[in-house]
Amino acid sequence: MEELQDLWRKASVKETESVSQSELEAAISRRSSDELAKFRQVIKWEYFTTWPIVLWLIYETFRQPGYWMATVPLLAFCAYMIYFYRKALTQSTYVHYDDSIQVYLQQTLTFLKSYVRHFKIICWASVGIGFLYGFMLDEYQEGKERLVIFELSTFFMVAFVLLVVFGMHFYIKYLYQARIDAIENLLKEFREN
């Protein structure tokens, strides 16, 4: 092993190429390619695209007669969503590269798992609220012209729900689960002797 250490020392001597001022400026002005920065961007993107949808739903709720009953779950949902995204953005700032490796990995894993858990709650709550709205539409528009979606066959309705459920599942898996698995494997290496 000593021969490897000697070889390593010799190799280290060759690694002293300096960084120039222009190289430094290029490095510090580039956009971060780090995974966590990307997650932060995705969270921000989701946060800001959710707002117009929520505001539109609130507007529609107040506009339609008899829809006031839906405002309570809708406002509760909005409050939860604001709490969730703000918490996720704050929690992501707790992850520091200058922590020890194990702490860094654990913090990242905690952040991602908590985010995915709340994300799933949001998604399922959205489906629930969607059904509540659908039920109310059916209830209050009786005798009036019904929305096209309720005139579709049961087959299409089931297919639509399944598409939403599996779509969400794969979206979450694609974005987060692979990263979670990779970090869990690394942490497993820490527990092995």
């Binding site: 092993m1 430094l24 971060s32 200058d98 020890s100 690394l186 002797n193």
Partner: protein, 170 residues
């Protein structure tokens, strides 16, 4: 002295460490360049908040290793293209210094790249002559755990390079 000049001086004192860490987690120049730039960027971002609570080298190792581990591609660890074949390993074992130094260095990097991600970090710190105390601080594990792991990795690395299975490597 402006902050960028101060950082540049600090960076050039530690550039060898950053390059070696990045080299262990990449196997092509493009990835190496990306990882290096990302480490520099993250060091720069936290340079202002570095208060010297830990040694500067500990801080650099932590940031560089965490960045490289977080950058790893989400695919199964692949076997390096330049993996040492058994004949070459035997040749190296018999006459370790008849190849050029550059080739030996490349073989060493290739062998280390075949280790698990965490083991690569441990052997890097060992080869860099870091104390067990500092290694434990960087990794976040106990000193005794560091010792156990180093012994295991040394055997593994020796086997990868020399094809030896039974000889002691201490």
């Amino acid at each position: 002295m402006p902050q960028t000049q101060k950082f540049l001086a600090f960076l050039n004192e530690n550039t060898a460490v950053i390059r070696k860490v990045c080299r262990l987690y990449t196997d092509n120049p493009t990835d190496f360049h990306d990882y290096f730039q990302e480490v520099v960027l993250q060091l720069w971002k936290s340079f202002g908040s570095f208060r010297g609570e830990s040694k500067a080298s500990t801080w650099v190792y932590r940031v560089a290793l965490n960045v490289c581990l977080s950058q790893l591609k989400l695919k199964k660890r692949r076997v390096d293209n330049t993996t040492i074949n058994s004949a070459a390993a035997q040749h190296w074992a018999d006459e370790p210094y008849d190849t050029t130094e550059e080739e030996q260095v490349q073989q060493l990097y290739s062998a280390i790249r075949q280790l698990k991600e965490l083991d690569r970090a441990i052997i890097l710190l060992y080869l860099e002559d870091r104390s067990y105390d500092e290694m434990a601080d960087i990794l976040g594990i106990s000193q005794s755990n560091v010792g156990v792991r180093i012994n295991r990795i040394k055997k593994q690395l020796n086997q990868l390079i020399h094809g030896r299975t039974t000889r002691s490597v201490a």
